[in-house]
């Protein structure tokens, strides 16, 4: 697999003609946005003054007007960047993924099905809205792998019956075949309780988590400090989480600045990286040619696809060959 520096080279050298064309589009979109923005502000001010004159400045109409203008702005923004986004994914992200591994296929508008997300058992909350994009499928070192952006939300109602949406997970979700056979369910989550409340109270809080299986204490202090493991088979959990696997997970977590959720269910590994944003979207307000921007695309792809190598999932047990 290509290294980050090789991929960054590829981004700047091979993709340069497409990048500079897209950069021109981006600048044009930005100036259009400024134009619409100014018009929007002028319209808002004129109507607000009119409302203020007739109904008073604190009238609720002004708030409605403001919300209306912002919503309209959102619609216009999406219309403006729609083609640009499509172009960017086709001409930049697709070749970038092909460069990492030609065996991978990329479909911008697809995402991993909901049943896989639910099977992972990473998030116990019910899901009321589920979506995503940027689906990558294929095999790396002969290991079937698929991942995409996922946004899962749930709804609550307050005392007035108003519904509110909450994000359960937003980020990258990956499923790959695991190199060992197992029947049990093992879930590895970031250890928030122990970090916040310390060993004693945090450990107790984890052990009374009724929505989860039993806590499994593992014999790697560094891993234990960062993660909490729930599972229904203490032996199989350790069969999956060998000392070297725990070390690799700790190392992987060091590489990424977001919380890592991993589960092992039905002979598959499920990884969710809670980035909190949509990945592989073109930047609108910063230049596509900026190094930091390029690094973000390259890094995200590299560590996601590199996970197979990182966790040595290709070292199959003989009985799985």
């Amino acid at each position: 697999m290509k290294s980050v520096s090789e991929l960054t080279d590829f981004y700047y050298k091979e993709l340069y003609p497409q990048l500079s064309e897209l950069e021109k589009t981006r600048i044009a979109i930005l100036s259009q946005m400024k134009f619409y923005g100014v018009i929007g502000i002028v319209i808002f001010l004129v109507i607000a003054l009119w409302i203020g004159k007739h109904f008073g400045l604190l009238s609720p109409f002004i708030i409605f007007l403001f919300i209306g203008i912002v919503a309209l702005g959102g619609v216009i923004y999406n219309m403006l960047i729609r083609d640009y986004t499509k172009d960017f994914k086709e001409r930049i992200i697709t070749p970038l993924i092909q460069a990492i591994d030609p065996q991978l296929s990329y479909t911008p508008y697809l995402f991993l099905p909901r049943h896989l997300f639910e099977r992972s058992a990473l998030f116990n909350h019910s899901i009321d809205r589920y979506g995503g994009n940027d689906c990558v499928r294929g095999s790396v070192h002969n290991i079937p792998i698929e991942f995409s952006d996922i946004h899962a939300e749930y709804r609550t109602r307050d005392s007035k019956g108003k519904s509110q949406w909450h994000t359960l997970f937003r980020g990258l979700f990956l499923v790959a075949e695991f190199n060992k056979n197992f029947k049990s369910k093992t879930v590895v989550l970031p250890d928030l309780a122990e970090k916040t409340f310390g060993d004693l109270i945090g450990g107790w809080l984890q052990s009374i988590n009724l929505s989860r299986d039993k806590v499994i204490q593992l014999d790697d202090p560094e891993f234990e400090k960062q993660f909490v493991v729930y599972g229904n088979d203490p032996i199989e959990a350790r069969y999956i989480l060998t000392h070297s696997m725990m070390q690799r997970i700790v190392d992987f977590q060091k590489k990424i600045p977001h919380p890592l959720f991993i589960s092992f269910v039905q002979n598959h590994i499920h990884v969710a990286i809670n980035t909190g944003k949509d990945l592989f979207e073109p930047s609108v307000f910063t230049s596509l040619l900026e190094y930091k921007q390029a690094m973000e695309y390259v890094n995200t792809l590299q560590y996601t696809i590199g996970l197979i190598e990182e966790l040595k999932l290709s070292e199959k047990l003989w009985s799985k060959i």
């Binding site: 204490q217 032996i235 060998t242």
Partner: protein, 186 residues
Amino acid sequence: MNILIVILILLVLITVLMYNSLIGKKNQVDNIFAGVDAVLKKRYDLIPNLVSSVERYMEHEKSVLEKVTELRAEALKPDLTNEQKIAYDQKFSALLGSITVAMEAYPDLKANENVIHLQRSLSEIEEQISAARRAYNQSVTNLNNAIEMFPTNLLAGWMNLSRRAVFEITHNERQNVNVKELFNRS
């Protein structure tokens, strides 16, 4: 008077909770040991096969192979205590390790498909055994802690619970196996 009753009820409640948690821990140990036993058996089942396929080649190591067979028969006896089973597992791990090292000297053996098959199954079972050992050690540590720590130790003494042994990494396992010495000895 009322306070006394409340304190009494609380004390009874705490005792019941402690009793139940101790029983829970003891059962967890037994439960996991059943898992350990199952994978250990799986390994013992492979031994006759392994011995019969390698003994034609390994003329010089006959005595070691005989010892493995003898040990297997002993380890499969019924009515062994957990401690004895643990001791047999440790002996087996050391012996099998030395056989694997000795096999390196026989190119024919390394090329034999049957032997490769056996070796791979053996290393897979070895991984399962290692996981089972770790799970068992953790549950024993939890039980031993409860037996020794205040105030559960008071109750544990009354319940006749005693410390259990854990799987230790033997001296042999930690050191590189000296094959020559091993074969000269017998």
